[in-house]
Symmetry: C2
Subunit: 154 residues, 2 copies
C-alpha cells in the first residue's frame, strides 16, 4: 500500500503541449464509491487493478496490482460500469516534479487537467505558466465521477 | 479469468463434521454490487483479491489475484464494508467432488452451508446424506448479502 498525494489543476492554454507525446489510457471502474474506488486501467501493453481508499484532503491510500492484459480487457468489457474513460496522458518533467496532463475523449472531450503527485501535502512546487485553477477538492473532476456526470453535461 | 460454477445447499445435521478439520476465513467486500463483486479474503497465511461478474444461473466469471497478506489486512481494516465475514471452512472430498462446508460466526452464527464447485452446470454428483435444501438461487445466502442482512435478522 502507498499513500497517494495528488493535486489537480485546470490548464489555461496549450503551451504545455510543446515537445510532448502522450500515451492512450483506457480505464473503467468496478466501484465508484468514493470510500472504496476500484479501477481497471490499460496503458500501452500493461494493465493494473487499483484500489483507492477514502481521500482525506489531497491524500488517499492506494493499492495497485499488475494484472494480465487479457484479464483487464475482460474486466473492462464485462464487469466495469459504463461508460469507460479514454484519455491521452502526457508526462511533463519540470522543476523536479512530473506533471501528468490528461486530455479526455468521448463524453468528456474538451476537458484537460494537470495532476502532480507529491511526497508530502505541503510540498512546494513550481507552477508552470500554463497552470490554471486548482480543482483538487472538486469531486466532479474525479475520473470515477466523470463516468456518471461527464463534462459534456456540465 | 475462470468461470465459477457452484451449487449451494443447507445441511440437515452435523454428521458432515466426522473427521474434518477446518480453517478460519476472514473476508470483506469492497463492492457488493451483484454485477461486480470485489472480495478480499485471508485464509491461513495467504490472501487474495477476487472479482466476480454477474451470475447467470449458477455460473459467474471470476478473476482472482494473490496479494500480500499485509495489503489484505489493510484493505479489510480500512477499505472493506462493515461488517466483515468470519467463518470456519471445512473441505470434504467425497465421491469425486470437494464439498466446502462454511460455518459462520458473528451476526451469521448458526448458519451452515455446503458448496460444491462443478465443471459444468449439468454435472451429476452424489448427494451426501447430510445435504439439505438447495439455496443456489437464494441471494440471501450470498456472502455479499450476509453483510447487509445477516442471518440473525432473518
Amino acid at each position: 500500500m502507498g499513500v497517494e498525494i495528488e493535486r489537480k489543476f485546470l490548464v489555461v492554454d496549450d503551451s504545455w503541449r510543446a515537445g510532448t507525446t502522450g500515451s492512450l489510457l483506457c480505464q473503467g471502474y468496478i466501484s465508484t464509491d468514493p470510500e472504496r474506488i476500484v479501477r481497471v486501467r490499460i496503458e500501452g501493453g500493461a494493465a493494473c487493478l487499483t484500489i483507492k481508499s477514502k481521500s482525506t484532503g489531497i491524500s488517499c491510500g492506494e493499492w495497485e496490482y499488475a494484472i494480465p492484459l487479457q484479464d483487464a480487457r475482460a474486466l473492462l468489457d464485462e464487469v466495469c460500469q459504463r461508460p469507460l474513460i479514454e484519455k491521452q496522458r502526457y508526462r511533463i518533467a519540470r522543476d523536479g516534479v512530473v506533471w501528468e496532463v490528461d486530455e479526455f475523449f468521448g463524453d468528456n472531450a474538451g476537458l484537460v487537467v494537470a495532476e502532480v503527485e507529491l511526497n508530502a501535502e505541503d510540498q512546494i512546487f513550481v507552477r508552470p505558466s500554463w497552470l490554471g485553477e486548482e480543482v483538487s477538492h472538486d469531486r466532479r473532476y474525479a475520473n470515477a465521477s466523470l463516468i456518471k456526470n461527464p463534462y459534456k453535461n456540465w
